[in-house]
Symmetry: D2
Subunit: 367 residues, 4 copies
């Protein structure tokens, strides 16, 4: 249990918010994949703190380096180790948290489960842990794009109660990156940014919704029963800090339809089997059906707020706490590349599983 994800493309992340650094070891990456540190860095830069006026002011360049597994610009099939140093750690800001539990944080559960914790910046529960995921995801994305033309695009669709109009098709990276909140609808983005600033000025925080769309997925990714594609996507998303929900295709709203309204009928479109509608969200029987995959992830408002809150201390005494440290008033903008990374890790794992089982034996050899 814990810090290893994937069965074929296995990533093992390590590191804490204010320890020496953060990193990831990738075991099982195919060899001969050309990859530069700049490609990794481009994704990390989308995630790094201090990138805009609606993110935390903590200054971390989050500069990655390969320590093994890449030689002469290409992967060599053995473990890839990527490290990022923590540069702007200010553990003293967390002295109070050593003895007081922040509401809706992991302080109390970690302390009780382990009996000992790194209280500085939340230690392992810090979202800095996701650096390793994003770095690994960058490689996964590149492979998926090359082998199958798969494109993964996440974007913010709701902040607090400000909802963007439905986006037809898959937005471009440019459209998503055009504003600091990463909502491809410019007008809504402006309102969202204002809302985040408004709540931040009150020492408060907001949550919202991220949608992720994937195109180019071939028919066949995912497995029956326990490793359904949507099951692994759901696990991946709920493994992200601050997430409270996942829905694929028609999701929660679709359960209000009856079967004759909900079913996606098949059609022969130019010689290809396609569905007319896509309430399935690109997955049927746990396996991708070649349609666009889309799902939503719910993120709660940031738990750390700069207001006085009631809590208890290590001895169980009632006390009060005012949030300190540097935090995002809304996690969604920086969570966009993380959602993409986790999606890539799930898809690549299934793609490799498929290679091992379904693509490995040509039935013709038996005849």
């Amino acid at each position: 249990m814990g810090s290893i994800f994937g069965k074929y493309f296995r990533i093992s992340t390590w590191g804490e918010s204010h320890g020496g650094g953060i990193g990831v070891v990738i075991d099982g990456c195919p060899p001969q994949v050309p990859i530069t540190i700049e490609e990794i860095q481009a994704e990390l830069d989308r995630r790094k703190p201090g990138q805009s006026d609606i993110s935390t002011p903590r200054k971390e360049a989050d500069q990655a380096r390969f320590v093994s597994g890449v030689f002469e610009g290409k992967t060599i099939g053995t473990p890839i180790a990527i490290c990022v140093d923590n540069k702007d750690a200010r553990p003293s800001a967390y002295d109070e948290m050593k003895v007081k539990f922040r509401p809706s944080h992991a302080d109390f559960t970690y302390q009780t489960k382990y009996g000992h914790r790194n209280h500085e910046g939340g230690g392992r529960s810090s979202a800095r842990e996701t650096i390793g995921r994003v770095a690994a995801g960058a490689i996964a994305k590149k492979i998926l794009k090359a082998v199958s033309g798969i494109e993964i695009r996440a974007f913010v669709t709701r902040i607090h109660n400000i909802e963007a109009p439905f986006f037809e098709g898959v937005p471009t990276l440019h459209q998503v990156e055009a504003n600091s909140v990463r909502c491809p609808d410019p007008e809504t983005a402006t309102k969202m940014i204002a809302r985040i600033k408004d709540y931040r000025s009150k020492g408060d925080s907001v949550g919202g919704l991220i949608q992720c769309k994937v195109k180019g997925v071939p028919v066949g990714l995912g497995d029956p029963v326990f490793d359904r594609l949507e099951a692994n996507l759901a696990k991946a998303m709920l493994s992200l800090p601050a997430t409270k929900g996942f829905e694929i295709g028609s999701g929660f709203e679709g359960t209000k339809l009856c079967g004759s309204e909900h079913n996606d009928t098949f059609d022969n479109i130019n010689g290809e089997v396609k569905t007319r509608s896509n309430r399935s969200g690109g997955v049927q029987g746990g396996i991708s059906n070649g349609e666009e995959i889309y799902f939503n992830v719910a993120f709660k408002p940031t738990a750390t707020i700069l207001q006085k809150q009631k809590t208890v201390d290590l001895e169980g005494n009632d006390t009060q706490l005012i949030g300190r440290g540097r935090h995002d008033p809304c996690v969604l903008p920086r969570a966009v590349p993380i959602v993409e990374a986790m999606t890539a890790l799930v898809l690549l794992d299934h793609w490799m599983a498929d290679q091992s089982q379904c693509k490995s034996v040509d039935p013709a050899i038996f005849s």
Copy 2:
């Protein structure tokens, strides 16, 4: 990838809708747990077909038997094998499905992925597969109850657009089993049953929501990062046929609150650290915090409907199909024990993980 679930209490399910039978092998079950086949059967009876006038008329006693791993009424620590024979299989009802893909079913994806499939009753994609999960879950439930007083109760909270009022606390098994739709609010249940019958009479189907509540969970189940308790619950739920969404605690609606509204402040209540509210849903930082765990699962309307639908055949030609075979017009009532079983499997796995890591070493021995 596939048919094995869990890392400590590992279940491996096998079987198809119309093959010889269905079963499960459990590896890692603690020894000396007293268990009778009647205890397994009681859970299977809640799941079996033909149990009420709103479920499929297929007649299966789903009689389970132990084939290994239980000796003189107690588990012996080695693999437990449980089998159920398929008695009322009518594969001929599926002759048409051999060449035509049922809309929103797994026919097309299985055929494309594997190039060969058991089309009878959906083969492995049939919900009959869940028999093995329910059987294993019965043992998991018993252990959880004994070691920690954990009680898991799922129930139907919405069918189509008929929603039950919020149920305070955890309903009793008796309250849930009091009606065939498994909604603990009798008035709503009556309406739900009528709605299901109404749609069935039209050859149509409906979906809805199941809520699951768990009490008695100690602080500490779940792991940071990838094996957060909610991540594994999400995976477990999305691995069930017909599910489209999962939300824990405040879920999707909670993302419309701001942080100061959403946070669960800590309180010392009679010497115990508790939270005043429970928008976290009993989990903080991926680890149970001792509060009630609750989550919702969205089930789509049954894909098989008895109406003529547009589809394509194996050669990709446009054609039509009228659903046959015997089916549930609504899967939720019978899914209630399955949701409980999967919840039990996730919780027991985390509990055993905790024993292996956190409870195994007494810090005092080092001093």
Copy 3:
């Protein structure tokens, strides 16, 4: 830990010597592999009891049946379940073992570890458990043969102190099956059979050596570090009842050579890179090098002997025990197909791993 083997072609065995039956569930088998129950049975018949006058007189047809995963004569990509009933169980022969520990058996360790055990015939520690391995191995063998022309041949090379001369190349199945002890040298076989009968007549037992040779293995199976091919072969062999040692290539004797004697120099033989000698045993750096793989497995003399032995009972009192039940005076002849099966499972798992990682991405797509 326990009863699941393999990461890609995963087998989960279940069953006890005198319980309802024995079986295996295979998860991850490629689809569209044509397989008949007769092909499985042919391997099981080589392993079954009562097949000759030097094996146990227990009469078990060990008739296998597919319960799922094979449809219209071909695998369908989902779990294959194979069952064998126990027919000639005589649990009463084990009444004494309920309270007395057989020397060098698993009785004492199982009882102490689990606090409860199926004492009938050794329960799970019985070699009957290997039925599931042999059944799964039959499928693995067939796939390996088809995809790569891999042939696996195990045979007895020593019984007690009777050693067969070195066999050049790989013996044919016919040569191995030509006599009941499965030694391809007819003269030695005759002496071995006599030796086994001699010890059996004294109520005693003997052990010996099995060699396994594999030809047709392509360069590239196996992984660096923990999943070296020889590491997984060693685990597979030491997981068999009664084994005490494993050596590959030059093995223990080779450690008496110096480097200049031991190294296998490379040679270009008709355009192919080959080694002149093969002290490596077909594996270098944990990865197959295209040469013949060969290794030896040491089997101890059967622990159950029909002589009075000193032991203790459940309460720890000193007592005596005379072996009963029906047993092999030497396990090696029947272990030959089991060694082959485990070898096949290891090789197929590595072959599928290789497909997932090394064969899945064509470097050309990146340019």
Copy 4:
């Protein structure tokens, strides 16, 4: 497949001989274990190059540092990352190996499997990789000692054909470390050292045998069937570079005994069930029986020798190669702490498995 070992105490190693560094991530370590970098370093110092006049002259301090998972001197239950920098890398010494395959090395198999490799110092196939194992093993050893008084001691028993007399009981660390070859018999050690120097002076190398003895192991570690204790030990040992064989207890020689000679009869010794002899090597039915565990590991002579050898180049042309770089003329002395580390990792993993399954449920709670 690859670079992750263990199911409960999972280690993931990374790094190459001449890359930026070497390290390990440990996932699943119990919390609150006091551990200092000095304790890790003490084990690494036993393994490091340049420690004596019979090891490689490469100068590496192999200075370890914790990068995460240890806080205020104690483990915190989350991943422990340990890094060691490569300081004395001289990759240019390997220029020739870029295009020529060293005999009995991993060059050819890596190149063929991956199509691309780090040829500097063997890259991932270098024994430098074992640094991560030794670091993780140091923590495992400490836990085993504390929870159960388990002591693991490996030592050299044969170099080339110089064999030490049988050592009664378990030698002390002091006895093993008293000489540079790590043989607890001083007289034999002197001869062994002379032999190694003799072969080194000829540009040649030698192999031999390491024995490992473990005392204090409680009854019950190990699992039936695939995860027998000896199976996992065998895998652990054969995963070490240069190993060719493993035998436990009576091993290969014991197969020449008959059952009545080989069986270990049980005895009540001062109220404890013990065996009079220990040909089982401390393991029965795959599970530790409370006796001393002992096994032998065969190491081949170092493949790199400083003599001209025949080989082929990347294009398959016949050529010659003279070994360069800095190498051990005999790997055994430095392999001693590595054998101990792997043994500790296997035992701790089984110990944690036992906690999760067998020690977790008190049968009394069901009554």
